[in-house]
Amino acid sequence: MAEQMPSSSSALRFDAHLRPWPWLRSFCEILLCSVGFCKHGRRRVPRQHLLRGGVEDGDLQYGNARCLSSYYSVFVARLAIMVMLAILIGMLTILTWHFTRVYTTKSINSLAYGLRYELLQRPILRMWNILNSTVEVTVAQVKLSQYVIGQHTNPDTHAKQAELYEVMRDITWALFSSRKFLNAITISYGDGHVQAFHRDHKKNNTYYMYSELTNLQSKEMQMVDMLASSHFWRNRSSAGGISAIWYKETLDPITGKRIGLRRQVPPDDIINIAGISAIRDGAASWHVTVSKFTDSPLLSAALPVRYPIDGSIAAVVGVTTTFFSVGQLMRELVEFHSGYIYLTSQEGYLLATSTDTPLLRNTTTGPKLMMAVDSQYPIIRSGAGRLQKAYGGNLQLNHEIHMENVILQNQRYYLDSFFLNLKRLPLVGVIIIPRSYVMGKVDQRSYETLVILISASLCILLVGCVCIMILTSGVSKEMKLRAELISHLDARRRAEASNNYKSQFLANMSHELRTPMAAVIGLLDILMCDDCLTNEQVATISQIHKCSTALLRLLNNILDLSKVESGKLVLEDAEFDLERELEGLVDMFSVQCIDHNVEIVLDLADDMPKLVRGDSARVVQIFANLISNSIKFTSSGHLILRGWTGFSNNFSCKRKPWLDEQNTQVSLKKKVKQHGGIGEGSFKRDDQITLWFEVDDTGCGIIPSKWESVFESFEQADPSTTRMYGGTGLGLCIVRTLVNKMGGQIKVVKKDGPGTLMQLYLVFGAPVELGCHIPQKNPKEYVQQKLMVILALNGNMGRITMSRWLRGNGIDTHEASDWKDLMQILCQTLEHNRNTGIGTHNHLGSEINCDSCEVECDLVRGCSASIVTISNITHFESQDINEVYMGPKNFVVVVDAEILDQSTYIWKEQLDYLDKYSGRANFAWILNHDTSNNIKMELRKKGYQLMVNWPLYKSKLIQILETVSVKGETGFARKTNDRKSSLTSEAKTHERDEIDPIQFDYDCYSNSSATSDDGICDLRSCAHHHAVNDAEDGLSTLQPTCCKGVSSDERRISHMEHFNAFRQMPQSFVKSENMNESSNAFGKTSYHMISCDRNAEVDKKQLRDSALWLDPKWKNSCSRENKCCLIKSRPAYRNNGICLMQEYPSKRASCSFSIEEPHGKPLCNSECSDASELQVDRDDVQPLSTMPFDNSCRSYANGRLQAVPDEFNQKDCKSSKIVLSPKSSLQGLTILLAEDTPVLQRVATIMLEKMGATVLAVGDGQQAVDALRFNSAADGCRRCSASLEDGKAGSNLQLQDLPVFDLILMDCQMPRMDGYEATKAIRRYEAETGKHIPIVALTAHAMSSDEAKCLEVGMDAYLTKPIDSKQMVSTILSLVGRVD
């Protein structure tokens, strides 16, 4: 507790100044804690809760409060139980103590009482005995004396008298000796004679004492006299005492014989002699006396002796006894029992004590009796004092006192007094017994018992408390647990609720997402059914479709994902085409792979069943995750997805020889070991197929220690992964879950070299129908067709895989990894083949051999070669090869577009070069998404129909082979008259480039015009374009020559010549000078070839096409490598006219550029103009229309182009408007813009010009009015008015060129003259001419009053600033349309 308090209190302090209430509560809590001896651990938890509760929400506080109240109740209960226990134990203790003590004490007390009584009784009895015996002796003495005296009556003689005394002495002695306790016996006779026996106890002597009477008489007589006359002669007696002489004789105590001599006794030493005075009433009497011979009080009794005759008193007998023996007895008793006993007379004189203290006190008059209260012994004294107090001074008879707990001298005593009522001598016996004697042990024991009991009860209490604590702690723990359980339940309910919300949200969202996705997919489906789409579009759309489907699948999976995690996933069991799914997957990832510069290869074994039963979506998900994972971590290299049926080890070995053989063995062994439970025999059961897969990448790899953990949730091989690559680490976890769900396993396997190799196997159900199990077209079918495949693929792994597969199927396969290889292989195989072919189809001169082919290859690499060689080859080329070179073998050349050198234009030459083999071999092109459009176009142009998308895999190859074999049966379809149809079919299936419909129109248009041989204007303009183009290129001089030589179409040439006129620009000529020679040479060559190859049967169109086809070649010749270009142009002769048509746009572009030349743009721009058609499309719209009004253009127009009539230009504009831009809605309109703000002026101008309108902007109303006025004036006035207006507002407008304005846009607020005034002025002016020009107000005032004002002054419409172009266009069109 102690160590906990500070921490908690500090924590409380922290909280205290924020909220007093939690502080208080925690304080109470701590109090309770300390009261309830709480265990630390138990307390700590709620307090932590409590402290946290301070910062958390109210729910927890509420829970805490409830918890607290439960604690209170627990503590109250605990406290109550403890108190009850304490009371119980206390009562038990007290009762036990009480009973043990009280009964003992009572019994002991009663016993002690008896004891005390007994103890006291004995001395009293002794006293009684003493009294009795004294009395008896006295009586006996008296009787004897009477008798003797009776015998000797009247002793007349002295002798007789003496004889009497003698007898009396003997009798007395007899009595005296018989009673040892007697102190003395005295007989005093009437005549004064006294006889006495006396024992001195101190000296232990016995004396006989007698008195002599007068000297005359014997001493016996004297004594008797004295005794006898004592009654009568009291005075005499007393006087006689003086007179009498006392004698004392020491006697032998036993015999009584005289031992000593008679000695006279001084009167002081005489003992008490009972005289006549002692007998008051004649009866026996006794009293207590003292004598100086003894230190204890004496009891003396006296009786008279009477004469038997007259009854007169003859003598008095006195007997004295000491109480010494009583004291002795008491002493003995006390010695045995301890305590003190004493006897007192009624008056309080001490008679006997158990102590040795003297009982008498010496006074001057002799010893006197002592009062008990004056006793020298302190206990007795105080006890007597106590008694006296109790008696209250007057002692009554039979009043006994028993006090049990009297404290005398600091000790406890029992004090008891007993009363002995004797006649004439009442006695009081007091016994004082120390309490410790009687009760000593009891008291101690009871005390001890009490202590023991209390301590025992305390122990019991403690133990009980602990037990209760434990008990109640168990209860409270249970309560707490229950409370926690309740809160947990609460939390769980809440969590479930929120989870429900989440799932509901997901469900809703996925529904919301799925609905548009479904729409997208549906619309795509519709779109795909459309016939009008180009191949490119179809491909794109199908890609979109695929992706959309994938996305939809993903959406569906979102919900399933949680199912996977909770293990509730139920796998679908449906037949699906695994291969197709995987191919789709590879296709899907191909784009990503290309972007990552990773080669993705799909390598599925032939024995893979086509159809399997399983959950296709999950399988795809597995592989998608794996592949995307691999791609993510692979920056270069390859990614191979292998698959095989897992029942043949040999097969696997065979399949992977390119891997390290040992490694394969090892991994196979491992596999067998790892999955030994499955066993080889069980790889394929009746209804189950085990398929093995492997995802092999060359990425960064996974360290072996992480091989297992990468499959855990949120686990990544390296913490930095997330930073570098992103991702959550869930993908592989899902994969493993799914794989396990499908009865498979996934493992990372050791791999040689960098990267990761993941192996997994999945168990699929076999398809129900066995018929489906028949594999697809076996490539072995093609063996009979003597197919030979040349694979020219960029990616190593894919090529190797494919060629391995092909060879495995018995197809002759060659591989080429780059262009050079391909060339070599092509030369070797095809030339060889051709040579064999020549033997059968001897149509060719034998001068062509492999050497020329070698030269050709060199040429292609950019080396210079003689044109002669080329012409030779082209000569050979120009033969009708289609029929000639149907060799025994069907060549299939699969070429990856990537192996073309795309950095420069070499690819074109390469294509051209390849093209010459196209007759003998089937080319299949592999393209990918970023293959440039030019290549695609070129390929299409060259009529290649087989184009597949990268990556290449089995089924695509099979498809290619199939196509080729079908073709091989029907023959090569590359004939001239097929071109048209091939064009259309291409457009539907294989065309890779998007061709603008307008271009098609143009194409058709020109075709038709060409066939009809009409020199109509359009064609002319078309030709004009060509000519302009050529002029720009500076090679135009050659073209007519060429055309002339080739074509019989004179009109065409004339057109060209016609346009020669204005293309003779000095710049062009300077530029083209150095090319003339080579071009000339080539032109001649071309001419030669054409004239040679194409005889008169060649139709005009084709010739014209050929001629036109030259254009780009010339254009290209502007590039740096003349020779290459020359070579390149060669195959163009064979090419079909479609390409020509496709070149039209570029020509048009060139046209536009040539016109724009005066704008100061560099000429070389046009060189690249054919590279991007899009740019051209945009370019050729606006300049044509805006040119006449462009200020900067103006000067040139004035200078150079003045010869060109405006009408022509405008017509040209109009025509181009119709054909070209749909946006030019304001084409042909001339608009006057009056706006003072330059910003607005510029914006509006551009806006309008963009629409095709011609805009004249003026700065204020006055200018507008003037402009309009001059504009409407006669043409002849223009020039002069221009001079008038010159210099106005910094605008160097030349109004003479202004066309008639169709519309005015008028800002309302302008300096000098505002819009309203200007409008008024215009309307006034118009009133004279009777015209009405629409005026549109431009204002920033967006209020209706302004509108009203505008309309009032004669404006036709109203536009607010900022100008909305759409609104403006619609307004203008409505106004102009009305006017028109």
Partner: protein, 148 residues
């Protein structure tokens, strides 16, 4: 790579300008008007706007300093400023112009001065922003050109 980053920055910059309300759709329209024929159209218009506005602002300041204030002239200037700013889509400048005109109509010189300060502030803001924008776009265009 840099080009892409620059382009991204450019786009982000523009977006931020739109989000913060400096610009509105009018600017988008301007951008749409820009093409090969007028490759620097936006820059041109905007610098026109800058010149014009600076002139107007100094004019305004001078007019408001003079005693008595020619509120008609101020109104005309503000109107013009409003028109030009709305044309290039400088929304915040335009928005400030509205209370400016109100206080102008009330012939409230203090209000006018306050508004003028606001307008100046907004103008400097938009000027800075747009100049940054053009710099970025210039660089990106240049590097694009160099790559081609």
């Amino acid at each position: 790579m840099e080009v892409i980053q620059l382009q991204r920055r450019h786009i982000e910059h523009i977006n931020s300008l739109f989000q913060e309300g400096y610009l509105d759709d009018q600017f988008t329209q301007l951008q749409q008007l820009q093409d090969e024929v007028n490759p620097d159209f936006v820059v041109e218009v905007v610098s026109l706007f800058f010149q014009d506005s600076e002139k107007l602002l100094t004019d305004l300041g001078r007019t408001l300093e003079a005693q008595p204030v020619d509120f008609k002239r101020v109104d005309a200037c503000v109107h013009q400023l409003k028109g030009s700013s709305s044309s290039i889509g400088a929304q915040r400048v335009k928005n400030v112009c509205i209370p400016f005109r109100v206080s102008c109509e009330e012939k409230n010189r203090d209000g006018c001065l306050r508004c003028l300060r606001q307008v100046e502030q907004e103008f400097v803001f938009i000027k800075n922003k747009l100049e940054t924008l053009f710099r970025v776009s210039n660089i990106s265009r240049l590097s694009k050109a160099s790559r081609v």
